[in-house]
Amino acid sequence: MSREQILHKVRTALGRTAGQAVADPPPVRLRVSEMDLETRVATLLQNVEALAGKIRRVATGEAARAYVGSVLGGKSAVASNAPFLRECGIADLAGVQSGFTGAPELRALCAIADIGITGADYALADTGTLVMLSSPQEARMISLLPPVHIAVVQQERVLTGLDELLTILPHPAEQTSSMVLITGPSRTADIEQILVRGVHGPREIHVVVVG
Amino acid sequence: MAKRVSIFVTCIVDQLFPKVGLAMADVLERAGYAVDFPEDQTCCGQPAFNTGYRREARKVARHFLKVFRDAEYVVVPSGSCTSMIVHHFGELFQEEPDSLQAAGALAPRVWEFSQFLMEVAHVDDVGARLDDVVTYHDSCHALREFGIQDGPRRLLSHVRGLELREMDAAAECCGFGGTFSVKFPEVSGGMARSKIDSILRTGAKTVVSVDSSCLMQIQGALSRAGLPVRTMHLAEVLASR
């Protein structure tokens, strides 16, 4: 269709020919700062809290389960298939359904559930960010449709920031069709610049760091 | 023998604010320079360049290059005119190697007045005295093209009897912009009024800047609003005793 036309116009405009070699691009610029584990976790939680996220640091899987149980308080929840959630016993909590592998049923449940519970592939300390890769363990909808999202993160997964993430994961496309960085609850300031949370995504997020 | 500087007063100072030129010459002499005024000078060509008339701008720029070709230093009481000479002559003469060469050779010798004092004369106290409360307006070209921000404030800080109060919108454009002021008068006027609102909030009696075109715009708006605040070029403040 227009492919040849457009590529031809581009080359003509640039004075290049088809298949012409390209000089090296400017070097990749990644600056990973030194931050020990404790500092990373503390910084992460501080930043999540600054974004109106709720935070909890626990030493064990049981403690994580207890916290999630307290947030649940009788409400309904969907949990992802993250092995860590099962290890913590979170998938067994009353009111929690998990183990879905089919999109339609998962979506239907997420649409009515009060809470979505997931793990997180990584967390970024300097921006208070959760990194979620879509996979058989983690569906997209769980951290998106329900109005509350709880992420249970293993402390080793906490990185200093985006630069470190891209250092250890230079080609996210090789792993997943969707990598999402989640920094705080959904928000907008579209009307009179007044901040409102929970427009389409969750209005409340909890980050639980375990370890 | 005393060091020499040539002054390019700019057409607006020559015709509308001559005291600025005299003040600048006074201050330069006090700083130990012999001041020379090449009489054939007229304009840097900015009005034409700004309005899109490059051919006409080129003619005037060529004349400028001729007049100041042998100057050791050219000191200018305006950031925008200095910018025209130092940054835009090169663009004008892309197809004229001789003029391009001349412009390139002259550029390092052309200085905005306050920057000349600070960085060439290495003088930040000229022994001035002015009992007044002033606020300083950062002229856009001076600020953004030459980084002129601390220099004028340092110079003002040494003026005896002077109190400097910062306005919140010091770095916002006054709205002159050359032909912009007459092609989009309402917008230009609105910008001037925003500027004077900021000035009034300081309670200062005088507005100081390094560009007479800004001062003309600001003074025009102050006067139209019937406000008793006056404007002074930095040179005039520094020449005060």
Partner: protein, 472 residues
Amino acid sequence: MSAAFDEKIHNTLADANLQLAIYAATGRLIDHRKHAVAGAALPDYQELRTHANALKKHTIDNLDHYLEQFEANVAAHGGKVVYCKDGTEVADFVLGLAKERHAELIVKSKSMTTEEIDLNERLAHHQLESVETDLGEYILQLAHQRPYHIVAPALHLTRYDVGDLFARTLGVANETVVEKQALIARTVLRQKFLAADIGITGGNFLVADSGAVVLVENEGNARLTTSAPKIHIAVAGIEKLIPRAQDLAVFLKLLGRSATGQALTVYTSFLSGPRRPDEIDGPEEFYVVLLDNGRTKLLANREHRQSLYCIRCGACLNHCPVYRKIGGHSFPWVYSGPIGAIITPQFLGVNHEPGLPFASSLCGACAEVCPVKIDIPKILLDLRAEVKNSEEREGKGRLERLAFKLWAWVMCHPRIYEMAAKAASGMAPAEDGRWLRRVPAVMDLPPLRAWLSQRDLPPAPGKSFREMWRKR
């Protein structure tokens, strides 16, 4: 400039409430950005800008290479690239696909590129419902209005406007509490997300080495748009390419901070291809529409090609004292502010709105805050010269040209200059701010009338500098 341009400007200036709204909104964004890029918050801000400019320059200068690399990688992950030369081709593609798939409902996330080609209007023509899901854009769609600002599209509307609008178009009670208005939109739009057949987005960045589309947002509507429907179509200009995923470390650090002062927006999605076979949810089909629509024209101008580096942060709009007075709707095209002022003439021709490059005081605030260092003032100056050259060719603007010719001649003849200046000042009584009133013909000159409409003239000094110098 055109009468239409003048009129829109005048009306905006005359609307006191609108002036306040624009000033407050942009003021807030200015403050947020300032804190986000200040020393301690981002110590290598200037270095990042330099790097971003270099990355964009390299990519744009070799765009064909990166387009092909991107295309191959999209395909490798199960997606498809579609090149479209204009809005008609984009619409044809979407309509064709919709027909094949029996699609009836489209959800859209915010995309200036789709505004540029009026995609919704084109689709509506063919009974295909396309619903905007970004709150600001949804409001505008209901109100049949254009975005007011690249990042804050509904900045000119109040909550009362929104209350009235929702009541009128959605049949709900008139609600003026903003949280409740957002809830109304959330409820309506959620049904749309879950029922939609196709999700259309823009693309903040297209990553060549990954075949990925990066979407940056705060609400979650882009995530829903790209996760709920079975088909995802991303529409992006060819200039959105960056070489590597790792380059996001530079661009993402600059985009959020420059736009809203956020280190990262709430959601940043990195999407490549439809869902993988073992993933649970996500679209089954993934298309990236690469749009030309005149970009190849801009590419051809070596000096102005940098206009294509823009990452649509909106910082130039926020800091522009002219935008802050005339607002987004005074501009003749979908792109407003300084970036709009330089790309509109390049896309639509300098004669589309000849006044546009002149609607600037050249203060340089835009260039100072542009994260990719586009030299906007230089391009404005170049465009001014183009306008005047075009006028000359068409025999327009003779009087002004003659005036400048005469002016230049006088300025090249110092003795004549002195005489002319003396003659002019001779018409003025000393120290009188309204001195030229004596000469009605002079007063009628448009520039003088324009000046005097807003401010006084300086008092006549009596003697010129050179006269005083000679007497010194």
